[in-house]
Symmetry: C2
Subunit: 226 residues, 2 copies
Amino acid sequence: MATRRQRTERRADALSKDRIVDAAIEILDAEGERGLTFRALTSRLATGTGAIYWHVANKEELLTEATTRVVDLVMMRVPDSRTPAAGARAITLIALGVFDAIDEHPWVGAHLPRVPWQPGMVSLFEGIGGRLDALGVPGPAQFNAASALVSYILGVAGQNAANARRHAPGTSRSGVLGEAAARWEELDPAAYPFLRKVAPQLRDHDDREQFLAGVDLILAGLTAGQ
Amino acid sequence: MATRRQRTERRADALSKDRIVDAAIEILDAEGERGLTFRALTSRLATGTGAIYWHVANKEELLTEATTRVVDLVMMRVPDSRTPAAGARAITLIALGVFDAIDEHPWVGAHLPRVPWQPGMVSLFEGIGGRLDALGVPGPAQFNAASALVSYILGVAGQNAANARRHAPGTSRSGVLGEAAARWEELDPAAYPFLRKVAPQLRDHDDREQFLAGVDLILAGLTAGQ
DNA sequence: ACCTGAACACCGTTCAAGT
DNA sequence: ACCTGAACACCGTTCAAGT
């Protein structure tokens, strides 16, 4: 009984996978992906590298665990419903939830596309695929439909992560967009007619709205035949 | 005159940005992204690291140049046409061209989403956006439409790159998919009904066809209102 | 102008040794 | 069983020195 007690009631500061992942997320959010090193982790947790490697296989597992937590938090908040309208709404909620989560934790956007069938990715696939019945997408088309939606979400996720990595947290978004738009306006009109035409839209667009427009586009394609 | 001659007709083995990028692409194709180090480059080019840094700012520029070459090669092969059918076909050709290029050079799929408005990305955006007029997509909707298509392509690109990075070039694709499908079939049916249902489709699906189905889905969404 | 290569400031990971 | 921390085998990048 005494040993049992000792094993279950560990000291509050005892090392565990959970505490390691906690610390990793704090570092990732504060310093970005580049800041997460085993040296930073050991100093924050006041241990040696070997202690961390006892609980976690390697850095990839650490990032995967952290990513899983963030994605699962998003999925937990989505209601499941069975009418077509509710199906579309649930998918939009998942998509926006992932978008916002990546806005808050850009490293998730970088890691999610990197490890093929990691748990967070599996949850996402199930979460979206499971709503396609309600949407009225026929069974055989559901696999491709879910895959298209997830690929689109991961594509935006990766780009947003890349944007966040480049610009310091304080950087003005409109400034960055304005510079990019100005570059587009100076391109050779013969070679880049489209970019010149849409440069003003680049300057004024909202990433979140544009992301949502893409989701709506795919949903429209899915229900186009009905 | 003699000096001019000397400057333009350099020795065949003289270092230049082009030759460095050539060597980088060879290494990337043969050894993957992990194989491209400045040590590998210097030994292949028989110089010192400083020589490479004289021509190229850093590793990211090297990867961006290499990526640009691959993407531009794809874009060069797409005919431009003005009828709706030809517009859709051109977009499909670009999408498949990028897909196949990434199949051959997986590192492109990893780098393309990583550097926001790199030249290869700009070409891709222009190539797709420039065909939306022919497709009949109204002007104001074109920016979001191009963005959705490109994001989807980058999403698939990133995942394919991740897959290639994990499995040695010789690995049997059906074996990998079979194992993944088997894992899905063992999931809790209450928690993962969708994945269990589509597991057989995962086992048999073709990545390229699935990618194309996604492109068609977005194109269908774009022309749904017409 | 262009190249050399040693040196710097890092990494992730391993492992013998401790408790 | 769990932890320590030095050591290993790498990296990208810089820079004084050469031609």
